[in-house]
Symmetry: C2
Subunit: 220 residues, 2 copies
């Protein structure tokens, strides 16, 4: 079995791998909130266990083995989040920190039975795709809101980062999953957008628009 720490490193490497193949020491240090020197120590240990490939000064890459561990943690995290929201009545902004702990419970049986109990959800409360036991992620045709041209309509499909503050902000603006919206304006000055939402017109910053994932409406 792997330690919680190893699991957190692998998960962070997986997450940062989305931005490009090799993950740098400093990016990992930022993500995990530790010093770069600590990361260097730790990636050596992970490489010794063949969970990542590590070349001095060149950053790290997950091996197939490491990727599977990471994706399994994400699977657990997201299934637990569904449980917390659907069964225990937590709000979508309240569950991430608890799931950060629950994702490290070691029992395949437990997560399989929980998955049954929840009727095999494909997405978590933030629109995050839930991998299956083999590590396959369901596809979703979602793109960042910031990629939409002015005038287009869309439906909220998820958020990139389940940051508590962002989630509370979106909830307060009625921008929950499934909410309809339209892009009214685009200010080139700061790349902010003006949106029409169920609860009125709102201006959102570029950063928010980058983190809000949407899909085309009507299609299905």
């Amino acid at each position: 079995m792997h330690s919680q720490n190893e699991e957190n490193y692998l998960k962070a490497i997986f997450k940062l791998s989305a931005e490009g193949p090799a993950v740098s020491t400093s990016a990992l240090a930022r993500e995990l909130d530790v010093q770069a020197a600590s990361v260097t120590d730790m990636v050596k240990k992970l490489a010794a266990k063949e969970l990542i490939q590590y070349e001095k000064y060149q950053g790290v890459l997950l091996t197939a083995k490491g990727r599977l561990v990471a994706v399994n943690i994400i699977r657990k995290h997201r299934i637990w989040e569904v449980f917390l929201v659907d069964k225990l009545g937590f709000g979508w902004s309240e569950v991430h920190d608890i799931a950060e702990q629950l994702e490290h419970i070691h029992s395949e049986q437990l997560i399989d039975r929980l998955d049954d109990f929840l009727d095999h959800p494909s997405f978590d409360p933030h629109g995050g795709p839930i991998p299956d036991r083999e590590g396959r992620l369901p596809q979703r045709q979602a793109e960042p809101l910031s990629a939409l041209p002015v005038g287009s309509k869309a439906i909220v499909a998820g958020v990139k980062d389940d940051d508590r503050e962002l989630l509370e902000y979106l909830e307060q603006k009625g921008l929950l999953i499934g909410a309809r919206l339209r892009v009214l304006e685009h200010l080139t000055f700061d790349d902010s957008l003006v949106l029409e939402t169920p609860s009125g017109k709102w201006s959102v910053s570029r950063k928010v628009a980058d983190n809000l994932l949407v899909r085309p409406p009507a299609v299905e």
Copy 2:
């Protein structure tokens, strides 16, 4: 917040306190499966945090603060066991090890909501009383089967230790919680008992009889 380790030490001290006031280093070492020297180191740290009283060579005692931590862990452990059996369909012999992990999830909210979801159970699947938020244990009029005289009838109320093997053994003999039984014979030679159970007549050892808790029938 306390570490998982501290929590496990406090829980073990609480458990062993039932046999008498002061808990010895060696008893703790046996219970936690570590060396006595490790226990000595650890109890010094717990005493420094005022979770226990420790006097060299005299064993340890929980403080009120330490007792509350211990009882809270037991509360979580047992509520999770109810969840695993009642909602996820695990057998009573399968849940202890998973609950050993789940009991260390830190979130008062989580356990309160789970308690709601389960309709505030008073006992876990092994008959273990579930403490309330203030650490009060529900009373139960249960005694070890070994205390019963020959001829008496009783109802299974729980087990002292949720040891997997014992639980599977009892399940196989139909001695689940609520099962009716009668003491047919007592062999003074080895203190074993012969029982009449729903599934027939069985002989059980003294050790099993000590660990099987029963309550009088008919009374409510």
